[in-house]
């Protein structure tokens, strides 16, 4: 990771692309320009995920190990963010567009509507159980149930399509 001078380096912090100009990392010192201002950090200590940097004052930071998609949680100065380098856009909790999305990880507790049946706006299609609570998944429009990709008892992740109404 020792890089020459005059590099521009792209970081993604909480889904936002941040360009660090004149980026260099030599002899335990990283420096760059951010929005026209120069920043420089010297590495003082690294203990697993815990780092101490110095930029005039000491800065403590925690950086999680990279997950599979190159993202890390970075915590410093009391703030926390999901971060990666390169152009890859980090995901956000919004999920796919259209359809009814699981609000959290959980288990399909009960399916009240069959595929093909009519539903009214606000009617409950299925019930998700998570954290010992029941969550009704309701239709957002009048229509017909097109798809329910799970069966009762299935475990589902957050942000997953639970039902489609057309």
């Amino acid at each position: 990771m020792d890089l020459g001078i005059n590099m521009e380096k792209l970081f993604v912090i909480n889904c936002e692309e941040i360009r660090a100009k004149d980026f260099s990392q030599i002899d335990g010192v990283v420096s760059f320009l951010l929005n026209g201002k120069k920043y420089s950090y010297r590495l003082i200590s690294k203990d697993g995920t815990q780092l101490i940097l110095d930029s005039g004052t000491r800065v403590k930071a925690s950086v999680s190990s990279h997950s599979n998609d190159g993202e890390s949680t970075v915590m410093t100065m009391g703030r926390e963010a999901i971060m990666s380098s390169g152009t890859k856009k980090t995901r956000k909790g919004a999920g796919p567009v259209g359809g009814l999305i699981s609000p959290m990880p959980g288990k399909i507790f009960k399916i009240l509507k069959e595929v093909g049946s009519d539903v009214k706006k606000g009617e409950t299609i299925l019930i998700l159980e998570a954290m010992k609570m029941e969550h009704s998944i309701r239709s957002d429009k009048d229509g017909k149930v097109k798809k329910i990709p799970f069966k009762t008892g299935d475990l589902v992740q957050a942000n997953v399509l639970l039902a489609e109404v057309e």
């Binding site: 912090i13 920043y39 940097l53 930071a61 190990s65 954290m131």
Partner: protein, 494 residues
């Protein structure tokens, strides 16, 4: 009769909490664990630990017969139920005592009485404890419930009679929501507490949640350990608790505490209990419910009074006399508890899951992190999302608030998003600092409690840290603990 070995019928931080006091008292501790909890500290650090197998809660931590079987097998002579789970289950308390095991908790009669939200109010009405207007009747037909709700007037609160902790609760603002509210509360009540009985109450505007810690022995001594302010809640789940309650004069404080003691005396209570009151902004208070167990938030009381509530629970269960008088109990300084939840407050409080790579430890004095996890363990969807409780004592309230805010930066759960930053926003809010607390604090201040954008300074520091951490190639939970001898730093800045 001295207790020699306690089985803790619970998990996580509360199992460890009981373990600590038992260890201090020279009492052995047996813990139990569902198989998916086998790497958690409560399954590791006791004197003995037994698997409850796998399956739903009913197969494991709520499996009464199995818990009693394990108690017998291990030779434990007492069961501590912790909070939640079977702590307020009358049938379990009876089974335990029927098996010749000491139940560290109240009598089954007290559990029945207070577990029934309707019956408890009827009983307390007789001894002139103030109650909020509501319907607590046995007629549970939709027709009657609808009629009573309308009589009380919206907004009303519909609650599972045996419930607690936000489960089986619905607020209803208008006719159209009423039937679904009643059915939801009944269904969750049936599922969580095996009873679909509900009650309806007037929903008081801007109320404070004030509760009083009680401890009673079997020799007629009923003591209070002062109040706790628990108004900072989200969807009936407490988020921040503290003691003493801010903006409460000493006269009102003593009055509400004495009302709670009257309840304990009136029902001839035994052990630790908490009376929860709704208090209006002008200081009127109404009995809400009594929890017949240790509360999640008991540590703030321990820090401010200097008394160990679990120790007194055990002494009382042994049939002993409480070794203190009411005048020996004093409040000193301020204590604040923050519940650290695995959730993303900036994304609709969606629960989060994952592997905790590292748990940061508090660095300031008089700060406790009661936590049921270890580095490298997983947070899943099967249990409560509370990861830990940060409990902070300070000489006064401003100091306690400032220490709590700073300590929240210490107790990072690296790898799992928590409400850490959100808690800091609440604690730093001018109305919280002024002690203007009420149970709608969080919804009322929704906009001011939103996330703040990262400054250039903060992003720059993140880029710096991320750049050096880039050399970490290890995946998962591996962590190389090594102070690197940076030779280039020998003459650093000098």
């Amino acid at each position: 009769m001295k207790i020699k070995k306690i089985l803790v019928a619970n998990r996580g931080e509360i199992a460890l909490r009981v373990l600590k006091t038992a260890k201090e008292m020279g009492i052995k501790v047996v813990t139990v664990y569902a198989d998916d909890d086998k790497n958690l500290p409560h399954a590791l650090f006791a004197d003995e630990s037994y698997s409850l197998g796998s399956g739903t809660l009913v197969d494991t931590y709520l499996n009464k017969a199995k818990l009693i079987e394990v108690t017998k097998k291990s030779g434990a002579d007492a069961i501590h139920p912790g909070y939640g789970f079977l702590s307020e289950n009358e049938e379990f308390a009876r089974m335990v005592e029927g098996a010749g095991i000491t139940f560290i908790g109240p009598t089954p009669e007290s559990i029945i009485l207070m577990g029934d939200k309707i019956g408890s109010k009827k009983a307390l009405e007789k001894i002139k404890i103030p109650l909020t207007p509501g319907y607590h009747g046995d007629d549970q037909s939709d027709e009657t419930l609808v009629k009573e709700a309308k009589k009380i007037g919206y907004p009303v609160l519909i609650k599972a009679s045996a419930g607690g902790g936000g489960k089986g609760m619905r607020i209803v603002h208008e006719d159209s929501e009423l039937l679904e509210g009643i059915r939801g509360a009944k269904s969750e009540g049936l599922k969580s507490f095996s009873s679909d009985k509900v009650l309806i109450e007037k929903y008081v505007l801007n109320p404070r949640h004030i509760e009083v810690q009680l401890m009673s022995d079997t020799h007629g001594n009923h003591l209070h350990f002062f109040e706790r302010e628990c108004s900072i809640q989200r969807r009936y789940q407490k988020v921040i608790e503290e003691t003493p309650a801010p903006n409460m004069n000493q006269e009102l404080r003593l009055k509400i505490c004495e009302t709670a003691v009257e309840i304990a005396r009136g029902i001839n209570y035994r052990g630790a209990g908490t009376v929860e009151f709704i208090m209006s902004q002008d200081g009127n208070y109404y009995f809400m419910e009594m929890n017949t167990r240790l509360q999640v938030e008991h540590p703030v009381t321990e820090m401010v009074t200097g008394h160990d509530l679990v120790r007194y629970q055990i002494l009382v269960a042994e049939g002993g006399k409480l070794p203190l008088k009411q005048t020996d109990i004093k409040q000193k300084g301020q204590a604040i508890e923050c519940r650290i939840y695995a959730e993303d407050p900036d994304n609709n409080f969606m629960p989060t899951i994952g592997r905790i790579e590292r748990i940061g430890a508090p660095t300031l004095r008089d700060v406790r992190l009661d936590c049921g996890f270890l580095d490298g363990t997983d947070v899943g969807v099967n249990y409560d999302p509370m990861l830990a409780k940060l409990v902070v004592w300070g000489e006064d309230r401003p100091l306690a608030i400032s220490k709590t805010i700073q300590s929240l930066d210490d107790v990072l759960f690296l790898g799992v998003k928590t409400n850490r930053d959100y808690l800091k926003r609440i604690l730093g809010h001018k109305d919280f600092i002024a002690g203007h607390t009420h149970t709608h604090f969080i919804p009322d201040h929704k906009n001011e409690l939103g996330p703040k954008n990262l400054s250039d300074e903060e992003m720059a520091a993140m880029i710096g840290a991320f750049s050096f951490a880039g050399k970490i190639t290890a995946k998962g939970t591996e962590s190389i603990q090594l102070i690197t001898p940076w030779t280039s730093l020998h003459g650093f800045r000098n």
